[in-house]
């Protein structure tokens, strides 16, 4: 069978399962007694085992199989959960994730070896299981309930003292049952969910070999009541009759008469033919998994529609025809709605990025010996997929920063009267056409003096400038390339190391980042990113005959400047604008359009003041055309990386206009 066609589905689904697994493991760490979580983890492991087995990924199947054994022991109370086991499960999760990632990139399972994990899983299991298997073998050998060995009786007695119930269940299969052994196996499996099977007649081996007639009997220990177990057994097909008796008070019984007949409750229940269908709460909406390429295609088509719409508007503007204008307005409404709808389809909750942080915070705080509480909110906030892919790395960096350098050790915190555990807030919320993400800690804040000193040491600024710097200016030093305030650069991160990278990344997707900090109180990073990268508002400008688009998000204002006010400082043109020196960039020159050197002292130059973070520059243009919604198109691989150009867009008349990358201009 050619399974390669299912590979994508396999990877997608595996990732989804791993995502759930991660969440369950983290909750389990907090509530180790939650049986539901163990069951959930078991289910995921089981599903992964099945899926990977079918796909021929045997290493995953083996690992999940061993995980299942361990989890099964836990959920049957044969094994108590502890931090070692949780750590081990996390390691298994890591290994599985690695396998899936390798499959996603290479299409094959890869070579990494997780035998040590499997050995660990087994050793945890065996240390606790050793004595049990011995007893179960012994009990299985007892040939009759009435002649249960003293040993088995003792087990029952002990169990009853602990408040467990012992039941004997006689099961008779239907005569037309096709696979007796398989049916019996299902019964065993079902019962194992509710307790421990201590005895069966005939023995398990005989039942497996189908060495029995239509009936067999099982003795189990369980803390569930009879009806629960009975209900569950009733769901199994092909059973003619179930007879269940409770073994009462062993202590008062003699060896010969174990069953107190008067207390026996005979349950002869005809197997109900209709199955009870479990009503599941269908909270998950109806969804369809769609290939991202198809969505991109749809998005492109909608973009085309918007371009045509713009063109129609232009034509319509000149026409006197009333009907035509009406039709164009209608078209406009529809395209806007379609655009909205398609954008929504591409939106995914930011949870996709956030979900990896609890684990990261957990590992980091363990590693650094800090007690950190991660409080996340707004995980359901939706962002375009293209943005999601880009925002992960900067966030990882900021969170690491906070944990490593912001939040103090528990001892330090107690000493200065803070709560022992540090809090790290990760918030997301929509704000108009933007999404805001905040990373806030209640740690020690950024030491501005130290930042200044470092900057002077590194000769980024002079002593004199440092002296007169405002708080904002000092903070902006953090984002300078290669700046670090960490005394020693740890392997986690240094406060400041690579913050310039974070800033660049965020700016490259049209966002910005701000820092607020208070000494001793904490630091807050606020990231603002656009909802989508595909369609933006732009200002169209003209340079001679060429039309260029400037993203509106990086434009501060438009003004005019008299050419006589332009001065040259170190060969750079600057102008004093509102008491600040503003560098002048003549776009025509930068973009290689010759400009006649007619210097008209009185010429009023149209200047677009662009901002990049805190920096500003005046871009000289020939003519302003106006604001327009534009669809960003890539220039293609051949021209990717062209200086100053971020992409192209198609104007209403079908011609192409280039989008300027303002960030790279200055």
């Amino acid at each position: 069978m050619d399974i390669s066609q299912y590979l994508d589905i396999f990877i997608d689904e595996s990732k989804e399962h791993l995502h759930n697994l991660n969440g369950s493991l983290l909750s389990l760490e907090k509530n180790p007694d939650d049986k539901e979580l163990i069951n959930e983890i078991f289910r995921v492991a089981h599903t992964l085992k099945g899926m990977s087995g079918t796909m021929g990924f045997n290493k995953i199947a083996n690992l999940t199989h061993e995980m299942e054994n361990l989890l099964d022991a836990i959920r049957n109370d044969r094994l108590a959960i502890n931090t070692d086991i949780i750590d081990l499960l996390f390691k298994c999760f890591d290994a599985l994730e690695e396998y899936i990632n390798i499959i996603a990139t290479e299409g094959e399972e890869g070579e990494q070896d997780n035998r040590d994990l499997i050995i660990k899983l087994n050793s945890v299991l065996n240390n606790n299981e050793g004595c049990r298997s011995e007893t179960s073998i012994k009990t299985e050998q007892a040939d009759n309930l009435k002649n249960l060995s003293q040993y088995a009786i003792n087990i029952v007695k002990k169990a009853q003292e602990k408040g467990l119930n012992a039941y004997t269940i006689d099961i008779t299969l239907r005569e037309d049952c096709m696979l007796k052994a398989a049916r019996a196996f299902i019964v065993f499996n079902t019962l194992e969910k509710y307790g421990e099977i201590i005895y069966s007649k005939p023995s398990v081996e005989d039942i497996e070999d189908e060495n029995f007639d239509l009936s067999f009997s099982i003795t189990i220990l369980s803390k569930n009541d009879k009806n629960t177990i009975l209900d569950e057994l009733n769901k199994i097909n092909d059973i003619e009759m179930i007879e269940m008796r409770k073994l009462e008070n062993m202590n008062s019984m003699s060896n010969d008469k174990i069953i107190d007949e008067t207390n026996n409750i005979h349950n002869k229940i005809q197997k109900r033919t209709e199955k009870k269908t479990k009503k599941k709460n269908n909270i998950v909406g109806k969804t369809v998994r769609v290939d991202i390429d198809r969505l991109d295609n749809l998005m492109n088509l909608v973009s085309e529609l918007i371009i045509i719409k713009t063109r129609m508007e232009e034509v319509g503007g000149r026409s006197e025809n009333h009907n035509m204008n009406e039709a164009i307005e209608y078209l406009e409404r529809i395209t806007t709605s379609i655009h909205d709808a398609v954008m929504k389809v591409r939106m995914v909750p930011i949870d996709r990025v956030f979900n990896r942080f609890p684990r990261m915070v957990r590992d980091l705080s363990k590693e650094l010996g800090k007690d950190i509480k991660l409080i996340m909110s707004g995980e359901e906030t939706e962002v375009d997929r293209t943005v999601i892919d880009e925002i992960g790395d900067p966030l990882i960096h900021l969170i690491r920063n906070s944990i490593d350098h912001g939040i103090e050790s528990p001892k330090e915190r107690l000493k200065i009267g803070k709560k022992e555990f540090g809090s790290l807030y990760l918030r997301a919320y929509p704000d108009g056409n933007n999404v805001v993400i905040e990373v806030e800690d209640d740690g020690k804040g950024i030491d501005l003096e130290k930042v200044k000193r470092k900057a002077v040491d590194k000769k980024l600024i002079t002593e004199e400038i440092a002296h007169n710097m405002s708080k904002e200016e000092i903070i902006s030093l953090l984002f300078k390339a290669g700046f670090s305030t960490a005394e020693q650069i740890s392997d986690v991160s240094g406060r400041g190391v690579g913050l310039d990278v974070v800033k660049n990344k965020i700016e490259s997707i049209g966002g910005n980042i701000e820092v607020e900090t208070a000494k001793g109180k904490g630091t807050k990073f606020t990231i603002r990113i656009p909802l989508t990268l595909a369609i933006i508002q732009a200002l169209l400008i003209k340079l001679q005959d060429e039309i260029y688009a400037l993203p509106l998000s990086s434009i501060k204002e438009i003004t005019t400047i008299k050419s006589q006010t332009i001065r040259k400082v170190q060969n750079h043109e600057v102008v004093l604008f509102r008491n600040k020196t503003l560098p002048i960039i003549r776009l025509g020159q930068v973009l290689g359009i010759e400009k006649t050197d007619k210097i008209d002292k009185n010429e009023e130059l149209i200047t677009v003041i662009a901002k990049k973070g805190d920096k500003e520059a005046g871009l000289i243009v020939d003519k302003l055309i106006g604001q327009q919604e534009i669809v960003i198109k890539s220039l293609g691989k051949y021209l990717s990386g062209t200086r100053y150009i971020a992409g192209a867009t198609i104007l209403g008349d079908g011609s192409i206009s280039l989008i300027l990358d303002i960030n790279s201009l200055f």
Partner: protein, 144 residues
């Protein structure tokens, strides 16, 4: 034509530059278009003429005459843009004219000349012979 022969038969799109015939394997060619408005892209190599709008797709175009160091002429009615796609690249090649597609069997293709007088030699991976005409077969990867 039997099946073995057809494996060895390659189809080429023919085009002309300064009266010389050139050929590109047909599997690389998406379409052949008439010349349209080209938007200049600054800060690129001189032979990159810019980008065109091909039914909503933004496609870079390069002038093959300039690429090969031939004399530059104006575009006219005969001028064509051959849209080629190789790996992830989709690019338009501006040529003097283009009209036919031909079959060349392996025995009709010679190795490229080792000594050449023009700059084009490094872009040629073979010489096709058909009906007494010589056709220079392009090595697209080198051209791009």
């Amino acid at each position: 034509m039997n099946s073995i022969e057809s494996v060895n038969t390659n189809q080429y799109v023919l085009f002309k530059l300064e009266n010389e015939s050139y050929g590109i394997e047909i599997e690389y060619v998406k379409t052949i278009e008439k010349i349209t408005n080209i938007t200049r892209v600054p800060n690129t190599k001189p032979y990159v003429k810019g980008v065109i709008n091909l039914r909503g797709e933004v496609i870079p175009v390069i002038d093959l005459r300039e690429r090969f160091g031939l004399s530059i002429t104006d575009y006219n009615n005969e001028t064509r843009v051959i849209i080629v796609s190789i790996k992830d690249f989709v690019i338009g090649l501006i040529v003097d004219s283009s009209s036919e597609v031909i079959h060349l069997n392996d025995n009709e293709v010679d190795n490229p000349p080792t000594i050449g007088e023009t700059n084009t030699v490094e872009f040629i991976k073979g010489i096709g012979k058909k009906d007494g005409n010589l056709i220079m077969l392009l090595n697209l990867k080198k051209v791009l």
